[in-house]
């Protein structure tokens, strides 16, 4: 009897615990995500991953994303320029087209759209790859061969993502300005000087830095969320599919939210610093 009683008690306690755990799922997930980042950082500091693995990831994340980033940046630049000319021509404000395209690409559209494309192209693939490795026991196999999966699988991806995202962002910003220039000059017949001249006058380093900082932070978000979700995969092939979808959705939301806070924070910071100068 006594034993049975303790059993029911533990069962009750367990079910209450399970209910609380379900409620706190989001907080727990964030905690686990941060723990993963911490563990990877620790493993990296102790012994950096091999250069060969990092180069491989730099290529996979950076170089192979160039075409999509080119298309994204270029078409966004085209649309921005065309739309601002259509909207502003009757008000005689078309001379700001170049400036608008540049500022919009640098501060918002460049980093956010690049991050979206990289999430879809790199993040999703990474979650699926790591998830598959996990459910087919390849991650376990690494561990039984005394290789730390954090150092071998995740650290090279983190490092490459942090390094490549700002560069990809700059690349799509340049492509956007170029696209805007082409359509303004060759389709709407604007003189190249009208498009280009206001840019060096009004665009500040701060605008470019906004894009770079955002790219860097989005890079961290994309790779950490993709790896975290990949390493938490359960439930076979179907599980891999589900995890990949949720990783992409979460990353998109995280990028949009973080983008808002970054915009405000960077501008406030900039005003503060400008006040001191």
């Amino acid at each position: 009897m006594a034993i049975e009683n303790t059993n029911t008690n533990t069962n009750n306690n367990n079910s209450i615990r399970a209910k609380i755990l379900v409620r706190l799922r989001v907080i727990i997930a964030v905690g686990e995500w941060m723990t993963l980042i911490f563990n990877v950082a620790k493993a990296t500091v102790r012994r950096p991953p091999s250069v060969k693995l990092i180069l491989q990831q730099l290529y996979d994340i950076g170089v192979s994303s160039l075409p999509v980033c080119a298309i994204t940046g270029f078409s966004t630049g085209l649309v921005l320029a065309a739309q601002s000319i259509y909207q502003l021509s009757d008000k005689g404000l078309t001379s700001v087209t170049g400036l608008m395209v540049t500022k919009a690409m640098m501060t918002e559209l460049g980093p956010v759209l690049t991050a979206f494309m990289v999430t879809g192209r790199v993040g999703a693939a990474m979650t699926a790859e790591l998830g598959t490795m996990l459910v087919t026991e390849q991650v376990d196999a690494l561990q039984t061969m005394a290789v730390n999966p954090h150092r071998y699988l995740i650290a090279p991806r983190f490092l490459a993502g942090m390094f490549m995202m700002p560069l990809l962002t700059i690349f799509s910003i340049v492509m956007g300005i170029f696209g805007g220039y082409l359509i303004s000059v060759y389709y709407f017949g604007m003189s190249p000087n009208t498009y280009m001249d206001p840019i060096p006058q009004h665009v500040k380093y701060f605008d470019l830095m906004t894009g770079i900082i955002k790219g860097f932070i989005f890079g961290i978000l994309i790779l950490t969320i993709a790896c975290y979700k990949g390493m938490r995969t359960t439930g076979g092939a179907a599980g891999v599919g589900k995890t990949t979808t949720s990783a992409v959705v979460i990353t998109y939301c995280a990028i949009l939210l973080t983008n808002f806070f970054l915009t405000v924070a960077l501008n406030v910071l900039h005003d503060k610093i400008a006040g001191f100068l």
Partner: protein, 260 residues
């Protein structure tokens, strides 16, 4: 060699291990029998440090595996190897890269240096010959059949000569001919490496063919453990049933294979 004391592990509501005690002698092949989903693989994963118990200890030699984490754990499991159910070959690498993986990652404990390129190549070729897959170096795992994948995984293991080898359901899902080859390889591996082996299976034929001692898991504990002759005579419904599934004693075949 391996000493397991009072091992407990629970997954959610499922109590998988419940106070398991087990001793494994150096150089023996212990076969752990029991139906699927009863915690046999979980036990192996505890021994090699992939899982941490809720309670209890595992000593391998003089090292307490259950107390170790991080780099110490990785160091402690360096002389162990595990053959996974699906082989768990890295599918981004070809067979050669898979088999050479350990040697390229680690320094040789005896010399303190990384193994040289030519030696790696020789050892990889030899390991693939032992498992009967010569010439498959450049194949990708996706091009191999299930049985071949398992044998390639075994080559990846024996290439670094672990002192303790764990087999997770080595013959499950294979046809009888391939299963027999795997059984033969387990015997061969033991001879070649002089390793301590633990085989987890529900295949009685395989168990009698490779095992020096047989154990039965029930309710998260070792219910029976004995040498093959005593084991098959134990009056236990499950052992009787498992014995019933085989028509002849595989040990006669083994005698014939190895001495005939």
């Amino acid at each position: 060699m391996i000493k397991i004391r009072d091992l407990w592990k629970r997954f959610g509501k499922l109590q998988v291990l419940a106070g398991m005690d087990l001793d494994i002698q150096e150089g023996e092949t212990l076969v752990i029998l029991g139906p699927s989903g009863i915690g046999k693989s979980v036990l192996l994963k505890h021994i090699i440090g992939l899982l941490k118990p809720d309670q209890g200890t595992i000593d391998v030699g003089t090292t307490r595996i259950t107390d170790l984490t991080g780099p110490d754990l990785f160091k402690a499991v360096q002389n162990m190897g595990m053959l996974f159910q699906g082989g768990a070959l890295f599918d981004s690498m070809n067979v050669e890269e898979n088999v050479a993986f350990y040697l390229r990652q680690h320094t040789d404990p005896e010399t303190g240096h990384k193994v040289g390129r030519t030696e790696i190549k020789e050892r990889v070729t030899h390991a693939l010959e032992v498992v009967g897959l010569p010439g498959t170096e450049k194949k990708m795992p996706s091009e191999l059949s299930g049985g071949m994948r398992k044998r390639a995984a075994l080559a990846r293991l024996i290439v670094y000569r672990p002192k303790i080898v764990l087999y997770d359901e080595p013959t499950t899902g294979l046809d009888p001919i391939i299963a027999m080859q795997i059984n033969e390889l387990i015997v061969k591996t033991k001879k070649e490496l002089k390793a301590t082996s633990i085989v987890v299976t529900h295949d009685m034929f395989s168990a009698l063919y490779v095992g020096d001692r047989l154990a039965l898991i029930r309710d998260g504990k070792i219910a029976q453990i004995a040498d093959p002759d005593t084991f098959i005579k134990i009056d236990d419904p499950l052992i009787k049933f498992l014995h019933y599934t085989i028509s002849e004693d595989p040990r006669a075949l083994k005698e014939k294979n190895h001495h005939g």
